[in-house]
Amino acid sequence: MKETLRLQYDALVIGGGIAGLQSALDLADQDFKVAVIEKDATIGGKMIRLSKVFPTLDCASCITTPKMAAAAHHDNIDLFTYCEVNSLDRSQGRLKASITQKPRYVDPDKCIGCRQCEYQCPVYVPDQEQGGFNLRKAVYIPFSNAIPQLALIDVEHCALCGKCAKVCPTEAIDYFQQPEDFVIEAKTAVLATGFKLTPMDQKKEYGQGQIPNVISSLQMERLLAPHGPYQRVIRPSDGKEPDSIAYVQCAGSRDLSLGISYCSRVCCMYAIKQAMLLSGALPLADITIYYMDIRAFGKGYEQFFQNAKAMGIEFVKAKVGRIEQGENHNVLLRIEEQEGDGRVVRREHDLVVLSLGMVPDWNPAGICPVGTGDDAFIKCVRPKLAPTLTEMEGVFVAGVAAGPKDIVDTIAEAGAAAMEASNYLNSSASGRAA
């Protein structure tokens, strides 16, 4: 039997999104050796999939890609993509992570990212990177600024026709590739495992994801992004350019019926941002935001909100009770106005966006002894003075893994986690660093 590969680092970062990358860069810049483990085939996390970011309206790629490239080229950072962490234990003062690299069915040393395989592959598959609004092939590169630029085969949709192997100029296709197990040993770790959206199919009153022109906020990010599925904003049911778009706030947050009692903290701002981008893309469209409280609390956010109001975006304080399919692919909202005379009214829109909240994308149970809170996010043991400390010695947490957060707060916390981790590396004693 082949001996398991064991790699040695100072620090291990789990998650290659913006939090993980920032922590890794802040550690590597202090001359520590860092391994970044990412479950997807590319680093960049949720942020690289966004259109523009509030409150500066920089394109998300303009901020994320340089950090991705900086991490990819840093002498002190090694990236491990398409990997799962099976366990993370501490013994004799060191952390040991057992990791499985999933097979890409493409030799990473040979693939040059030319996409010949993708062009020739005959099988189309819904592209989740485009919110399901476009198709990719069964062999594909996730997206144009993915790192690494390596193809992978989705075997569940592969007909094994052999075309990709035939056209590959470097003979990189390997249909027989197997998962590979290896071990990373490090002194400290940062958990930056991020979030996923609250599921769309749970709320009966909101159509359980079955109404075609009711889409999630991340799907709208794709519609607004450069290289989006349609390269413009049209609605998915029939390609109509919408005249009237509505946002339903707190659709999946502050909702005890879904078991999600907390505020997801970013939805007000991303809805306002998307509304602004939409009014740029579709100057004649009416945009309405149905909300409970507008939470524009970060630096420059309130001013951003006031600008949106001045631009003519309509803010309606109301509870959306029910969402139904209307005529002509339109969407009907039954809303209970909380201002004015408080009537229940019906309003019709061409396209409706659910401002979904955040739930954790990773559960440490069974992998490492790190506890979680009632909200299922990783528990912080000293939330005031050392917010990145977890229940496990030498293991820190950054970003949305420790509760919903916007990018600005995530980046600050990632720096803080790097500080704690470097303090821990520095203290030769095995005692707590903070």
Binding site: D31, D58, A69, G113, P226, I294, F297, E302, K384
Partner: protein, 637 residues
Amino acid sequence: MSTNQEKKATGEQKKVGIYICHCGGNISDHVDVEKLAENVKDLDGVAVVHTNTFMCSDPGQELIQNDIRDGKVNRVVVASCAPSLHELTFRGAIKRAGMNPYLYEHANIREQVSWVHHGDQATEKATGLVAGAVAKALRLQPLEPIRVEARRHATVIGAGVAGLRAACDLACRGLEVALIEKSPFIGGRTASLGRLVPTGEQAEEVITQIAAKAMANDKVTIYSCTEVVGFEGFVGNFRLTLKRKPPEEPYSAAEPQKIRMDHLEKGEFLPAAGIFPGDVPDKEQEIFLETGAIVMATGFRSYVPGEGEYGYLHSDKVITLAELVELIARYPDRRGRFLQVKGKPVRRMAFIHCVGSRQIPGIHEPDQDGRLNEYCSRTCCAATLQAAVQIRSSFPETQIFDFYRDIRTYGRGQEEVYREASRQRVTFFRFEPEDPPRVQKSSGGKFPLLVSVKDTLTFGEQIDVPVDLVVLATGMEPTPIKELVEMMKLPVGADGFLQEVHPKLRPVEVANTGILLAGTCQAPMDVGEACNAAQAAAAKTTAMLARGYVELDPFVARVDPERCKGTGLCREACPIEGAIELKERQVDGKTVVQAQITPALCTGCGICVAVCPSRALDINGWTLEQYEAMVDAIVAA
């Protein structure tokens, strides 16, 4: 020098590569990128032109690197966003490909073109800017960064929770730290807080813990009663002058009785003042400090309502949240039927949110300095509701009415506090900024004050609430540090807080290299958020100083000894003390006086270049010859 001569001098032909970025539509929606590429491809010296959706992405950078490695180009022009965003990104990429990173010129065709012009004009202007950049690129010389030794010493200004946190982390990583605090106590505003949201921890315990840690660390020197009065130098080698002077007693406003410092013990906590760090100076002294980096942690002050704002100062029954929190914090375990304030039971009380925050031009009055606080102070909603819950549970017969615009309990565990307040039967009224609640003294009746509001939750109904006490949820304002801002030339945002370079790319740095931001001097934050920011700043500081040297951009003045006649005009005009000196030199057996530059001090402002009558001065990377060539090229394009 003509291009021919230059060719001979360097022995190689200059080959410029132009790399044009679409910025994912940000540029290409307005600039016809393909036409731009066509327009510039035949310019003198241009070897290749490429376009890419995101030139800053890895595939984009590789495009440039491959051309360099293949010997196709030896000068690089990137046409994309503002250089402040990605100049460093591209220099890094060029360096990794084995080329001198300063043989690079940036044309800003986003902020200067596509964001402000449209149609053919945009493409025309972009063509001009790229042509100018090419002309300059042909005249660029390889440069080396200026390496200066850096002191492994950092100074933290402000000993609140952020300053203490940063100081502890910096010391932990082996740096010597000077922690400077204006007051005789450390702990800052946190020392005035009560139970913290949402953990319910007592602020006193939290702040005492971190203060004790700082005091116990022998790498941290605490200078209380101290202000920074002098600042000079540059990253790695700042020189500060501190003034330490005896405190004016009594110190604490909350404890009107005189506090005698000599009765306090080191580490003792004094409510609303902080932790006593051990000594107070008995006479004024001046201290000089040499330090590698400066962390600003000057914190915030609570907004003070104007006279008559919601009845403030017109009635002593109108107080601020900060005052209420201090009152509650002092007696955390007190219980009873009614909350007592100023010796009187409070049967009914009102909270009013967003006082001094979320102000809107045209609705709110600016202060004497003409300033409006348009921002949200972020912490007051949760703090108000926490106080409400605490009062409702300790004094069950005190009724609470809460007047708000939006409830912003965004943080982890904060929504639960909001829910608990509702469960404890706090009554909420919502108002619009143009129709704020009015606070009046009631004539007769059982209650001294009357709060009236047009409640939007009940269809705009006019509601009158008689109360014993009104608490104004006052927001945060940056601590006034005008002297420091002027002395250190710190960037300040429109909101009055210190301004970071970029909220995501460089969130804890200011444009002045070597100066960092921690906590509420940058924006409103709660204790945990301030600690995160402080640790992020400490991480950046450590990375900067850990190697014992820092590298500075080489864009500084240089003197041409053939031309310098020693007039000294440059030294007179130079705004930086010590950046230009006149030195004697031997030339052909004769002694001449000539200008000499100290590169680490020079900021490359170019004033000296403008005043020199013999054109003996130039700025590396921005020479007059380069400027002239750029202007010619732009005009010709």
